[in-house]
Symmetry: C2
Subunit: 213 residues, 2 copies
């Protein structure tokens, strides 16, 4: 129902927007008022035409010879990637990786706020990881339904991933950010975004092998 919810943004563009935002935020901090696509491209080592095309998806409009007004551009980018809104999220699996994510301030800065974490390990119940309480997994459904949580971050071991997912979906979760290397089966209405670190490692190793010959 909002102005821009039916637009379709290319995934590669979406993936680049956060780095543009980082660059122009730094310039804003320095007191700069305008930024050109060339400026951003140079800073990131990519093509300026690509940047300009990406920025065309925002509401921001640039002036020749000057560039885009930074405040306008920041707003435009944040609006597309949803970083101007706040969401409550829970994390399931407060182990090594889960704890790292809980402690990362970058998420709440971008509107993703962890309001609770859940784990199957009794010894963690009631403890806090970076100001987020670890609750028993038994309380998962109750918490989600009572607080109307829509987003879950999943950092449980692979063997537990699908089982936890089923419970999340059943309780009404609408989106799962999945860090386990498992293809989760969910109904079509539920969004699953999977991060697979091993893809990155694979690309890294191939590039190393090429570069080192």
């Amino acid at each position: 129902m909002t102005d821009s919810s039916d637009k379709k943004y290319p995934v590669p563009t979406i993936r680049r927007l956060p780095s543009y935002l980082r660059v122009i935020k730094a310039l804003d901090f320095e007191g700069r008022e305008f930024v050109s696509a060339t400026d951003i491209a140079n800073e990131l080592g990519i093509d300026s035409i690509k940047v300009r095309k990406d920025l065309a998806y925002t509401e921001a409009t640039g002036k020749p010879r000057v560039g885009y007004r930074i405040t306008e551009l920041m707003h435009g980018i944040r609006s597309i990637i949803g970083w101007d809104r706040n969401s409550e999220a829970i994390l399931v699996g407060a182990g090594c990786l889960g704890s790292a994510l809980l402690g990362f301030p970058g998420f709440s800065k971008r509107g993703l706020n962890f309001v609770a974490a859940f784990d199957a390990d009794r010894e963690k119940y009631g403890t806090y990881v970076h100001e987020c309480e670890i609750k028993p997994i038994e309380e998962l459904e109750k918490f989600i339904t009572e607080r109307l949580i829509e987003i879950a971050v999943l950092t449980v071991p692979s063997f537990a991933a699908q089982q936890v997912t089923d419970r999340l979906v059943n309780a009404g979760i609408k989106g799962i950010w999945n860090f386990s290397p498992v293809r989760l089966k969910v109904p079509p209405s539920v969004v699953v975004q999977s991060e697979n670190l091993m893809s990155g490692l694979a690309v890294f190793m191939v590039r190393m092998a090429r570069g080192a010959e």
Copy 2:
């Protein structure tokens, strides 16, 4: 000088290979001897033609109606992405994320072995994170040159990333797996592979906004 080092693999293909490997490893464990591109595609929910094209980059060759011999395919994939060889690596910045990576057994299983970690925090010197000793950052260069380390994983705060990178490059590091949201400046001979979690978050939020309208 080896057989396959001058071949060029598409990055999207490389990124998919680890998930193929995971699927066929599971089948191998179940005692299966052959696997078809269709099997893998169904398991991952992607197109079988894409899988077959990807697999064509491996040395493995399939038989109509039967598929590929799993042992052959595993070897072929591992060979491309370098998971049949062992490398020693160091990690710099043993904080939240760094500690999670140090404790993740998936890396050594794929041939990436952390032999030491370095940090600027005195209190961590001499402690161990998952059997990996945290050493003073002052010893960085000495360790790299003496042990001929070529790979570094970078998990320091953003403000320290470039400075640490310069030291790594100076000491002879050939590849940096970078988890900080910073574009690292390195000589052309050094490979930098950057993981930007925020890209994933952005895509996730956009998809949520689309799906939830």
